[in-house]
């Protein structure tokens, strides 16, 4: 990425994130350019080593001739809206590399681990030549799974010492990974965390880690109700599909020393190949567009509601709920009735 493109990208990202200036033109041009960029979401609890892992992956890919863009998200203050963005501090191997572009971003009041503009920013990065995009989410807890619906590949990072094996059985974050990484793999306990995760995954997914076809061994699997099975195979494919079903692998790595990072990138490209072949890949892309549309519609409808009422947006309604005259659901009905559907106004 030469200096001029780097400058253009930096400025384009600001405009698209702030929804200012010619941001719509930028997005339109970047979407038109199309891309084969692989977007990798890296998520996990605070201090798990996400930034260090992103740094290691970016440096590895840059060494193989890829152009890598990093979007590192940190939380915003719920009070002032400000933020201290410190992910770059851990990215010393990538910084200064001509093939790597790093951008920090505040979540700006968006919950779920990302920023509302994250997908748009990925489009802009891809439009400026990035072939690999790494999104680092804010440090998440158990339930911030949004990134799994934004990225092509979701990397869930865990570390030893966060709890016992019951943690591995819980719902949420530990269900959405395409690849699980146990970072700080040199610490005691890493192998057992990896084993716990693998055991849980073997209950849900057929065969061995990686893509598995119709012959895959299912003896370890628990019986899963039809509706859940359907959702799972929408995301991970079925053994009968072209490309087979994806069984998420678990890897112990040390992002700091680089140990097993090469192996991780091999898994990522195996996953990329599966995603291209599997109908699940198409379904994921469809789902992503749908989610984007729903989010934008919600935002626009709400903005319109506020615009109509100026400052007093919901004040009267809030008062009526507080006084006991209305419950929140009836208030919502009435607000929507008053406003009517957007096309009727």
């Amino acid at each position: 990425m030469d200096l001029l493109v780097r400058r253009q990208l930096a400025s384009a990202l600001t405009r698209v994130e702030n929804r200012s200036g010619n941001w719509r033109d930028i997005l339109r041009d970047c979407s038109r350019a199309g891309s084969n960029a692989l977007v990798i979401g890296v998520t996990g609890p605070p201090g798990a080593g996400k930034s260090t892992l992103v740094d290691a992956l970016a440096a590895h890919w840059a060494g193989m001739g890829e152009t890598v863009a990093v979007l590192a998200i940190d939380p915003a203050s719920p009070f002032s809206g400000g933020a201290v963005l410190g992910d770059r501090v851990r990215m010393t191997r990538s910084e200064g590399n001509d093939r790597i572009f790093i951008r920090s971003m505040s979540a700006r009041g968006h919950s779920g681990g990302l920023n509302a503009a994250a997908l748009d920013l990925c489009t802009v990065m891809a439009g400026h030549g990035a072939s690999r995009i790494l999104i680092e989410t804010v440090g998440v807890g158990q339930n911030e799974v949004e990134v799994a619906f934004v990225a092509d590949c979701t990397l869930v990072v865990s570390v030893p010492g966060l709890g016992d094996s019951v943690q591995a059985a819980k719902a949420g974050l530990l269900e959405v990974g395409d690849i699980y990484v146990v970072n700080k793999g040199d610490l005691p306990g890493a192998a057992s965390v990896a084993r716990d995760l693998s055991t849980m995954l073997a209950l849900v997914f057929p065969g061995l880690p990686g893509a598995s076809g119709p012959q895959a061994d299912r003896s370890m699997m628990v019986s899963i109700p039809g509706a859940t099975r359907k959702l799972l195979s929408a995301r991970y494919g079925a053994p009968e599909d072209p490309g087979g079903a994806w069984h998420p692998p678990v890897l112990a790595v040390s992002a700091l020393s680089g140990q097993s990072v090469g192996e991780l990138t091999e898994w990522l490209s195996t996953f990329g190949t599966w995603l291209r072949q599997s109908p699940a890949g198409k379904r994921r892309r469809r789902e992503r567009v749908k989610l984007q549309l729903v989010a934008l519609l919600k935002q626009r409808l709400f903005d319109r509601l506020q615009q109509d009422d100026h400052a007093g947006a919901l004040t009267d309604w809030i008062d009526r709920v507080l006084s006991g005259a209305l419950d929140v659901h009836s208030a919502t009905d009435q607000i929507l009735q008053d406003k009517g559907p957007p096309h009727a106004r």
Binding site: S80, G82, R88
Partner: protein
């Protein structure tokens, strides 16, 4: 918020960064011991409005002008730390907008930055320091 040169003491930088967060700004912290080139590159990639250098090593006359020369002219640059009074004019001459000496309140720094940066209207009135 950047630390330049062989200067590993960053409590001040982190306190100011935190204070600017409370003032509603988005602060990118570079970490310690960065070169002028690294700081310029970060400022460019992050498309910042302001670069703040915290320096306690005494090398400000050698390093600060170097950073300034590598930054885009539209970027506002402020410096804080251990700076002798008599060095301030020389820093201002090379394009440092303001030097904050020890004892300055974070509120004063925030206020100055808000007055020095023009925010485009389209940015929803958010007062971030980016």
């Amino acid at each position: 918020m950047a630390k330049v040169g062989l200067d590993g003491h960053d409590v001040g930088a982190r306190v100011v960064a935190r204070g600017l967060l409370e003032a509603g700004m988005e602060v990118i912290y570079t970490g310690i011991r960065r070169t002028p080139e690294q700081i310029a590159r970060i400022a460019m990639e992050e498309d910042v409005d302001v670069v703040g250098i915290s320096i306690l090593s005494g090398a400000h006359l050698a390093l600060v002008p170097k950073v300034r020369s590598l930054l885009d002219s539209s970027v506002v640059m402020v410096v804080g730390g251990v700076i002798p009074q008599e060095d301030i004019p020389e820093l201002e001459n090379v394009g440092v907008s303001r030097v904050f000496l020890s004892g300055t309140s974070v509120a004063e720094i925030a206020e100055y930055i808000q007055s020095a940066v023009s925010f485009p209207e389209e940015s929803n009135g958010s007062s971030d320091g980016r």
